[in-house]
Amino acid sequence: MPPKALILFAPGTNRDLDAARALEQAGAVPEVVPLNRLRRGERRWQDYQMLVLPGGFSYADALGAGKLLALELQHDFAGPMAEFVASGKPVIGICNGFQALVKSGLLPDPVQAAAEAQATLTFNAGGHFECRWVTLLPVSQTCIWTRGLNEPIDCPVAHGEGNFQARDPHWIDALVASGQAALLYAAPDGRPAHGAYPYNPNGSAADIAGLCNPAGNVLGLMPHPEDHIFAEQHPLWTRGLARGSGLALFRNGVAYAGQF
């Protein structure tokens, strides 16, 4: 049985179908589910083996990107979200979904966040929304989504608030050391971006593009691997230089979900 993926849908979600397509290609059976259907019990969390918080502008990103969705998850769905995460099933938050996971405290570490928020995704250092292709290095063996991936992933970013910053800058070193920094921005040749624009497009600390929880089953990332699942999406395909499909990431997640 291919795993079923629950794609959460809030007002303003808009990359749900992009994620659904990628998951389908990777072998899962995705279903886009409006939060209201979960609220009313028309759909049940436990019927799914994977959870996806897709990109978009939930609630128009009023008061900060992902903020109101995070509040709703904390307020109306705290139990099922915590259970899903604790069950070890794979969870991925992309762009707005990542912002919601961070702002609700589920990333990078719910235990620490319970006391006080430790990290955030704030306005890009450039001061504006930006859409461009980036190169990502999968560097974590802790994260079940990036485990075993050796090749860089090319895919677009499209956000205005993707700048990862922590209350305590030293804490970021710990995230890197523990393998929670799962995806790093890099130059096209695969060398670390070292903060240099445009390879690190938003000024994120330690070039962090994606993060996982300590257990490694929850990944959040700003870029959109779901928008690079076939060669002709790559900006250099007309030069014969397409590479680094985002499908690798989804295949990992789907394979892992198969055990549940």
């Binding site: 209201n36 008061l63 509040l71 709703e72 928020a117 990290a119 002709e232 030069r239």
Partner: protein
């Protein structure tokens, strides 16, 4: 009335300020202040303001601050009761620092405030009644005066149309709860004389002429009563230029100097635009001109719809809101044919960015502000609704300073034959989406009037603010409702609001509406305001009663508001009631067929110089390299990357040839190639555009041919089949009552006919916008240049046959194909050339009859895999095209010209020509394929990144690609 407000003591004020000193938003304001000439400003610190109305406990205040309003990692929060801490202007000055605060005027839609109330209630803080937002600026600078701060606030930090500001702490205002209103005025039209009729038209800003007022008067005389204000407003909207295109359908008497008899055109639209489509009679056009958007065959399963609208006047007075709702409006047009929106386009025309303030007419915003506001508006809507904004254009001309142009396009996809459009008797009239306020009242007539210095003030209520996420909900629900066949007809609420949408849907049957059922943002709207409001994000559906519960379920799932406001009935009349009171009762026949045809006069003057005519250039030395660099840096040609990148052009995953091409994605693509995710086959679409107001100033008819050629050529360059290109026309013109202006329109429309028929490229949709003029305080009328945007929608049989414009490999050959006949008439070279060195007066480029064959054959060569890159010659001529290809590939070109006038060959402009890069092993095949057609090998791609052009043994220019790129990336 809307302006009644009060300040309540129970308002808590929160100030959210960034912790870091290098906050990018504040830096942006400082940069803009300097760009506007306010160089005394040394620092601006920008903070967000939130006002929360309602009695709150200290704990609740803390919860709101910490959990909702600020991000503790990056921002600080302070709060106090608003009235208690009020500072006067004098208090806020300390040394060289000033405080300026800005808030929205009451009644202006504030989506963030709505979310605050919702979220506060979710957090259990039920005492929150209302919320408001604002901005606080702490401004520092040596020698700054209070007057400087007023200037800064008025020029940069606020727009009086939607906001107010104070020096010091601002007082928030909330609309007062008022009683519902059923006030209806009767307008005694039957007794009025001609002067009285025109006074009435002016007073109601109805934009109706004497003939039209007479027709209304005659109708009411036969009805034996006088109209209500609701009726007159609805007639004015239904009969507006915006809704019925009176000019294009007018009877036009055309005079030409030297011809004794006037020629009569009974209906310009039928004679030109529609005639072209009928003559071409392409089997793949599924629908043209009948609905909100044209439809073409795509992949056997799906149809593609495309519509381009303008939102010029609203963008002039409130750039962000105007452009924002322009995008929202055209998306609803596509949703109005039951299609899924899959891409957005934007073409923008502004005044020069370095226009001195002193030269601006009274009441006109600075072009820099208009540009940044419009771009932000397009960005906000497109990105938030999840549409890739893929193609566009930007044109600067002093003629657009007071009257900018904002063209917004939307592409949609839907399975064929799934769009229902026949309401049935007893169907319910259902409104989906946002609530109704005073937004955009009289937008349709407003857009049909000439702007004057008072426009911003009088039409303040015309400003619409968008809520893209609400419209996203509409898309989600409507597409599911379409698939479940829950409705019989659908239309969008655009200009004229419900009056226009419901009026259009009931035009074949009839129907009745209960206005008090319409959900309002705030009470107190008069019936005519509810009926006419242009509140955004609403669709009207004809729903059979049996399907209503299923639609309701969908709406609840997606958090979309549904309201039943009446029913369709076979009465031939539209009747609107407010409670028991009938406020409108009009016969469909009068409303939809009663508009008298306009009689207009046109004067056609021949162009000063016929198209294609050139004159010998004076012999003297030229600095070719300097000219090329100046052209690359010209604002019309220079890179638009800084705008393109703030639009999400990747969402939905279908953008295959992207707007930015090449190794470093910084070269301009000819056309974008899209394969929407719902595509059923291998096909893809090419989106292109053609526009050239410089040609329009000289020769409107030939301009139309040129821009059609450009739209076709751009699509062909990206790999589209030249025999499968559909066109859209958008005319933005001055006042058609001026005979010369109308003459130019007639010429351009005939040019459209000629061009479309020549290429076999039918028009499927179009729109016109007139009275793009401005009455300055000097008493002079300023008209925009005649502007015709042609949007091209091309088909690629296989997405993988797409070709990009960046050079691919050293050693490849570069060819110029097409009939090369460069001229300097309307050229960009003339724009960058110092006055003393101007080329002689010449005609604009003429279309060579061989062009269609060139495109067809080139396309065959491209399909055969012979082209590694292809780029068209347009503004700036051959040299600019070659430079852009070098930038794209970070490779060089070594070109040899054989032309007698190298200046003309490099920088003259021509129709019908492209540069094609051909791999060495394919050159023989390519030349054989192109044999008999104009095709010349100009040189080769070089590994050394330099653009070298030679002629007769002489090096004309030899420039490093980095130098070209630096010029191209000059900020405009």
């Amino acid at each position: 009335m809307p302006s009644i407000t009060e300040t309540l003591t129970e308002v808590t004020r929160f100030v959210i300020a960034p912790r870091t000193l290098d906050d990018p938003r504040s830096a942006g304001f400082l940069h803009d202040a300097h760009a506007l000439g306010l160089t005394a400003v040394k620092r601006i610190c920008c903070a967000d303001l939130y006002f929360i109305q309602g009695r709150l406990t200290p704990t609740e205040v803390r919860v709101l601050a910490d959990r909702l309003l600020h991000d503790p990692i990056t921002h600080n929060v302070t709060q106090n009761l608003s009235a208690a801490g009020k500072m006067s202007a004098a208090d806020c000055v300390s040394g060289d620092a000033f405080v300026i605060e800005v808030a929205l005027r009451p009644g202006v839609t504030d989506p963030v405030a709505e979310q605050i109330v919702r979220a506060a209630h979710m957090l259990g803080i039920k005492g929150v009644q209302a919320a408001g937002t604002g901005l606080r600026f702490e401004v520092q600078g040596g020698g700054l005066s209070e007057a400087d701060c007023h200037l800064l606030a008025a020029r940069l930090l606020s727009n009086p149309v939607i906001q107010h500001y104070t020096l010091g702490e601002i007082e928030p205002s909330f609309p007062l709860p008022t009683q519902a209103s059923d006030a209806v005025e009767t307008l005694p039209i039957r007794a009025l004389d001609d002067a009285g009729l025109m006074t009435l038209s002016l007073e109601r800003r109805a934009a109706l002429d004497p003939n039209e007022m007479h027709a209304i008067q005659a109708y009411y005389r036969t009805e034996d009563r006088d109209p209500t204000d609701v009726e007159l407003e609805m007639i004015a909207q239904t009969w507006s230029e915006h809704c019925v295109h009176k000019t294009f359908k007018a009877r036009i008497s055309v005079e030409r100097p030297g011809r004794p008899e006037a020629e009569i055109i009974p209906n310009l639209f039928r004679a030109t635009i529609r005639a072209a489509t009928e003559t071409i009679n392409a089997p793949w056009v599924l629908s043209a001109f009948v609905d909100n958007a044209g439809l073409i065959e795509y992949d056997g399963v799906n149809a593609i719809s495309f519509k381009v609208e303008t939102h010029n006047h609203p963008s002039a007075i409130e750039p962000f809101g105007g452009a924002n709702t322009g995008v929202g409006g055209v998306i609803r047009d596509v949703l109005g044919v039951s299609a899924k929106p899959v891409a957005a386009t934007d073409v923008l025309c502004f005044g020069p960015q370095d226009t001195p303030f002193e030269t601006l007419p009274v009441g006109v915003l600075h072009p820099r502000r208009i540009l940044s506001g419009v771009v932000a508006g397009v960005q906000d809507y497109g990105n938030k609704i999840g549409l890739p904004t893929v193609s566009g254009g930007l044109w600067f001309d002093p003629g657009y300073t007071a009257n900018p142009l904002v063209f917004c396009g939307c592409l949609g996809i839907a399975p064929k034959d799934t769009h229902p459009h026949q309401p049935q008797p007893d169907d319910r009239i259902i409104v989906l989406g946002g609530r109704t306020g005073r937004d955009g009242l009289r937008g349709a007539t407003f857009s049909s009037m000439t702007m004057d210095a008072q426009t911003g003030e009088v039409s303040g209520a015309s400003v619409q603010i968008g809520a893209p996420v609400v419209e996203k909900g509409l898309i989600d629900v409507v597409l599911l409702a379409r698939d479940a066949q829950l409705y019989h007809a659908i239309t969008d609420c655009g200009a004229g609001g419900l009056s226009s949408a419901v009026g259009e849907m009931t035009s074949t049957l009839g129907g009745q509406v209960q206005l008090e059922c319409v959900p309002l943002k705030y009470p107190g709207l008069a019936p005519w305001e509810i009926w006419l409001s242009e509140a955004q994000e609403r669709m009207v559906l004809a729903v059979p009663p049996a399907s209503l519960p299923a639609l309701q379920t969908l709406c609840e799932r997606y958090t979309v508001e549904l309201t039943d406001i009446g029913q369709f009935e076979a009465s031939g009349r539209i009747v609107v009631r407010y409670g028991q009171k009938t406020v409108l009762d009009l016969s469909n026949d009068f409303l939809h067929n009663g508009l008298p045809q306009r009689n207009l006069a046109a004067l056609i003057l021949p162009p000063r110089c016929p198209a294609g005519k050139t004159a010998p250039l004076p012999l003297h030395e030229h600095d070719y390299a300097a000219a090329l660099l100046a052209l690359l840096a010209h604002p019309n040609i220079a890179s638009k990357e800084r705008i393109i990148r703030i639009y999400d052009h990747e969402v939905q995953g279908g953008t295959l040839i992207k707007p930015l091409a090449g190794l470093a994605a910084d070269a301009p693509a000819d056309a974008v190639v899209l394969r929407p995710p719902d595509s059923a086959g291998t096909q893809a679409l090419a989106l292109s555009a053609g526009m050239n107001p410089e040609y329009g100033k000289l020769d409107a008819r030939q301009m139309a041919l040129n821009v059609i050629d450009e739209a076709v050529r751009n699509a062909v360059a990206a790999g589209a089949d030249p025999e499968r290109i559909a066109l859209l026309d958008n005319f933005c013109w001055g006042d058609p009552l001026r005979p010369e202006t109308l003459g130019e329109l007639v010429e351009a429309a005939y040019g459209c006919y000629d061009g479309a028929v020549y290429f076999g490229a039918p028009f499927i949709s179009g729109k016109d916008s007139f009275n793009n003029e401005y009455l300055g305080s000097d008493g002079q009328r300023h008209a925009i240049p005649p502007t015709l945007l042609i949007s091209g929608l091309g088909l690629l049989k296989d997405a993988r046959a797409g070709v990009s414009m960046d050079l691919k490999a050293a050693g490849n050959a570069l060819y110029r194909v097409g009939a090369f006949a460069p001229t300097f008439g309307g050229s960009h070279y003339s724009l960058i050339c110092p006055p003393g060195e101007q080329p002689p007066a010449e005609g604009v480029p003429a279309l060579n009859p061989i062009t269609r064959a060139v495109y067809r054959t080139l396309h065959a060569a491209m399909r055969g895999g012979l082209a590694a890159a292809c780029h068209d010659l347009s503004e700036g001529g051959l040299a600019v095209a070659a430079a852009e290809m070098c930038i794209g590939g970070r490779l060089g070109l070594d070109l040899t010209l054989e032309d007698a006038e190298p200046l003309r060959a490099l920088f003259g402009e021509t129709t019908g020509c492209l540069l094609v890069e051909v791999p060495q092993q394919h050159t023989a095949t390519f030349e054989a394929t192109m044999s008999g057609l104009p095709c010349r090998r100009l040189g080769a791609v070089t590994a050394a990144p330099r653009l070298t052009a030679r002629c007769a043994g002489q090096v004309l220019m030899d420039l490093p690609v980095d130098t070209l790129r630096n010029a191209f990336q000059q900020p405009f």
